[in-house]
Every structure is written in structure tokens, then in C-alpha cells.
Symmetry: C2
Subunit: 320 residues, 2 copies
């Protein structure tokens, strides 16, 4: 088996939907996924997403323009619907004629009419089968089903990738993208076997060379072991983060019986920027998934995509 055979396209409903070589989508993470990362992932044959959730309209527009200048392959954007700038980001997306839109954190029905009439390819991110069916009913082209091991903001029900993906696959007709815990070719192929048509990868790309996250953040992800990720704020709005002094404070409060008001105060605001972008592990939040334990190096997006694809084909060919 030569090298070119190990990089041959992987045809699934997701790669066909978005016109990409490999059904590997880079999550549109706040403070980490700017044009540098998304263009590098798209150049490598995956689908890069610009994370709009930490940008205002004009910054977002600049990232879209730079991404388009850097790569002539498909790329997309991620817009959290509950984000205060979401309507502006939607407007910019249309003005700049971005053709692939991922939404998250909000009611898909509100976005559906607008996105469908704009003729974009649209996927929405959910943590349960019930929500996945709502997204399908709203007319989305694909669903991202995200297990509780995913980084950053998370569902309340704590359903893991291993349990969520086969149940979502059984329930859905539209293509399914698995997210949460996928950081190498093993997770990629396992997710496909559980019933996914593609995968969304956050944490490993957040720690890549092209990520705009702070070096302290990337280092913390690379150094994290299996027990070094904590899912905090489970009762008020779950967030998965690498264990830092701040994360430890959150855990002690929760396990010590802190009430909702206390937790909201501890949650505060701006902690993602402080942690991910500015590298402050004392007061900032290092949002990341449990797959941090599988991330061992800060690598280029291209090397990450290659690792996924070559490992995938090697495993497939070896089982013959």
C-alpha cells in the first residue's frame, strides 16, 4: 500500500454534502478557530470552520475574507445562536456568500427559515436524540451529535459519544456527524462504525499550530492525562475544561454543595477569552474535551488530518 492509497478520499454522505475529500470537520471553537486554522484544515481536505462565537461582525468578516484568500476549497462558519452578535454574524455570512453554516447553542427553528432560504448547507449541533430529530424536522442538511466528552459547552443530560451516536443514527435520516472524544484515527473509525457519516474534531485542532489559542492553553491540553479534564457547572450549563486552579475551584464548589447562584457567580463572564486566548489558567477557563488526554503534540492541521486519514485506511485495509 503506497502513500497515495492511504490518502485516497473517504466517500460518505458528509464528504459528498460538503464537497470535501474527507468527512473530518474542524469544530468552530471560540478563541481558537480563526482563518488560519480553518483554511489549513480545508486545504488538507477536511472542512474548516471559522468560530464566530468570539468575534464581532467586522472581525468575522475579515476572517472569512482571509480564509477565502488562503484556500480555494470549501470552508464554513460556526455561529452559536444564543451569542449576542449571532444576527450580525448571520448577515455577514450571507453578504460574504459563505455556503456552509454550522449552528449550535440555540433553537434551530429560528435559524432554519433564514438559512434554508439562503440556500446554504446547514448543520446544527445537539446533545440528544430528541434535539437531533428537531433539527432534522427544521430542515437541516446534517446533524452534529455531540457526546458529553466534548470540549466547552455541553448538554445537560451527559450522554456519551458511545451511547449517543448509535441512537442518533437509528433515529435520523439525514447525515450524522459525531463529535466528542474524537482525537485520532481510532476515534474517527470507531465513530463511523457507531453510525456516523463524519466526525467533528475540536480539542486536537484547538491545540494545533494554526489555532489562535494561547501557548499556555495548548501546553495544558498536550500535558493533560485522562483524569485531567473536568465537566463543571453540570446543573447550570455544563462546560468541559482542562483542570487548572480555576477548574479545581469549580469542582470544590460543586462537590461541596454550592447552590445555583454561587455557581453562576463563579462562572462569571469572559473566562473563555481569559483562558483560551490569553492563557490565564488561574482565573480563565481552558475549555477542552476529554480527548485532551489523547493529544500528545502541537502539530499542524495538515499532519492531524493525515494522521486521521492514513490511520483510517490502514485499519480498513488490515481488516481485509
Amino acid at each position: 500500500m503506497d502513500n497515495s492509497e492511504l490518502l485516497q478520499p473517504i466517500k460518505t454522505r458528509i464528504s459528498q454534502l460538503f464537497g470535501i475529500d474527507y468527512p473530518i470537520i474542524q469544530g468552530g471553537m471560540i478563541w481558537a478557530a480563526g482563518w488560519k486554522l480553518s483554511s489549513a484544515v480545508s486545504k488538507a481536505g477536511g472542512l474548516g470552520l471559522i468560530g464566530g462565537g468570539s468575534m464581532d461582525a467586522e472581525l468575522f468578516r475579515r476572517h472569512i475574507k482571509k480564509c477565502r484568500a488562503a484556500v480555494d476549497k470549501p470552508f464554513g462558519v460556526n455561529i452559536p445562536l444564543m451569542y449576542k452578535h449571532a444576527p450580525d454574524l448571520m448577515r455577514v455570512t450571507m453578504e460574504e456568500e459563505v455556503k456552509i453554516v454550522f449552528t449550535s447553542a440555540g433553537n434551530p427553528k429560528k435559524a432554519a427559515e433564514f438559512l434554508k432560504s439562503a440556500g446554504v448547507q446547514w448543520a446544527h449541533c445537539v446533545p440528544t436524540v430528541k434535539m437531533a430529530l428537531k433539527v432534522q424536522d427544521a430542515g437541516a442538511d446534517a446533524v452534529v451529535a455531540e457526546g458529553t466528552e466534548a470540549g466547552g459547552h455541553n448538554g445537560f443530560d451527559g450522554i456519551t459519544t458511545f451511547c449517543l451516536i448509535p441512537q442518533a443514527a437509528d433515529a435520523l435520516e439525514i447525515p450524522l456527524i459525531a463529535a466528542g472524544g474524537i482525537a485520532d484515527h481510532r476515534g474517527f473509525l470507531a465513530a463511523m462504525i457507531l453510525g456516523a457519516d463524519g466526525v467533528q474534531v475540536g480539542t486536537r485542532f484547538a491545540a494545533s499550530i494554526e489555532s489562535s489559542a494561547h501557548e499556555n492553553y495548548k501546553k495544558a491540553v498536550v500535558e493533560a492525562e485522562d483524569t485531567d479534564v473536568y465537566l463543571g457547572f453540570k446543573s447550570v450549563g455544563p462546560v468541559s475544561m482542562v483542570k487548572t486552579a480555576y477548574a479545581e475551584k469549580v469542582k470544590q464548589s460543586e462537590w461541596g454543595g454550592a447552590g445555583i447562584e454561587q455557581l453562576k457567580e463563579l462562572y462569571g463572564s469572559g473566562r473563555g477569552r481569559l483562558g483560551i486566548f490569553l492563557g490565564d489558567g488561574e482565573e480563565g477557563m481552558f475549555e477542552a474535551g476529554q480527548s485532551a488526554g489523547l493529544v500528545k503534540n502541537i502539530e499542524s492541521a495538515q499532519d492531524i488530518v493525515k494522521d486521521f486519514v492514513q490511520g483510517y485506511w490502514k485499519k480498513i485495509k488490515n481488516s481485509e
Copy 2:
């Protein structure tokens, strides 16, 4: 592909270690895994385990004798090391010359010397990589690494199967059994791709015909959807359970900021027996894993093993 080809043995380090056709182990669950279930699983080519954790020494002995009379293939026992009758169960295991022992819930070093000198094949169940390495160092023949989606008692760190298995596989030299969230052939094959040499399946067997769990319990597992399993007591000793009136009470207490003393009181004692064995969903605990959402029928152990094996071979052959 004829039927016999779809039931051919699956050779891995785990099937070789235990001398079984398929590396499918039925978890030795309290109140569900008596001789009827374990003998049926072993007869079907997997490895049945008698769950000692809800038996006293003499009841345990009767189950071992009946299991041996019912099947001439390998079977084993599960002994939770922190259980009050554990020393007696160990003694009976030796007296009855059971050759396969799974231990859980306790310090593996204490059991190691005894079990190794007795010449049994020994596996111990853990929720983290660090603990897996301790089990390997203690001289065990295999490790069961159990993700947080598993039923019943669970680790504190909440590591999911999707993240735990590849990290454990990277760290270990001895064979690895994946547990947590595995309820059909998709989970079986996915776990193997993540790096396991075999799987341990609890919830689907707990809801099987041969399980000694109450019909109310089995019905609750079969009816559960993806969001109907709750991981309670996260700060005092996590237990995964199907949502019932009792589980809802636990959730409200935890999310409402209950302290450790309050939670311990709510935890009480004997709730597993009351729920699983006596079928009381109001005050009893229906211990089960998140894979309950994937269990759709009350089936025989043989049909469950067949579903795993045939689905496994179909997927392998189709990828050729």
C-alpha cells in the same frame, strides 16, 4: 456468506486467555447475574460471570455449582473487593475451583497475592488509566476499563469509554476489556477499534430473559431513551441508574446543592436490591448504564451474543 461463517470464532488475546469463542464478557452484575444468565452466556460462546456482590457465601456456592452443572464451557465470577462478604466469596471460589475471577471496587494489590498463588485467571475493573497500570503492576491477566456510561457503580472522574479505551490501550501491555455503553455489535466493533481486546456488557444482559432482575426493571431498561439514564451521587460515589421517581429525587437534590451528608442519607442502603431484584422504582435504584437506550427487547442471552457476533463479522466482511 453463510450463517456458520457469521458465527466463526473471534480470536483475540481475551478469547485466547479465557478459552472462549468470542471476547464478549457478561458483567457480573448484582441482583441480575446468577447461574442462569452466566451459564447461558458461556453456552453461547461468551464468558458468563456470576455476580457475587449480592450473595452470601452459601448462595454463591449454589450458583457456582448450578452454573457448572448447566454448562461445560468456561465461566467465572465477579467479586467486588469492598463487599462485606468478599473474603468468604474468595474462599468459596477457591474451594469450588473456579478458574476465572473478575474483581472490582477495591484495591487490587490486596487480592493479587491470593489470586495469583491460586493460579486463576484474574481481571480487575478500573475507571482510569492510572488504576489500569496499578492492576497490571499487581500481576493481573487482564484489565477491564470501564467508561462513565457504564451501569451501577462508577469512577469519580467521569471518563467516557470513547476517551478511556484508547488511552488505556496505549498505556497497557496486558489485554484490555472495554466496558461502558456497549450494547450491540456496533459498540463491540467500535471498542475493538479503539484498542480493546474484548468487551464487557452489562445492561443488555441485565435486561435479558435469563437475568434474575425483576420484570419492572427489565421493562424500564427496554423503555429507556437516550436521556433516561442519570449518573447520580457524583460527589459521594457515582451510580448510573435509569430515571425513576427515586432517580429524579437524587437529581433534584444534587442540582439543588445538597451537601454530602444529605446525599449519603438519600443513598441509604439496600436500594439496588429493592430496585433491581424487587422492582420498586419509587424507592429502589434501577442501576443501569446509558446503553439502556440501545436495548429494545428482552431477549435470550444466546440471541444477544449472536447479534454481537453476526453484526461484527458482517461489518468486517463488508469493509473488504
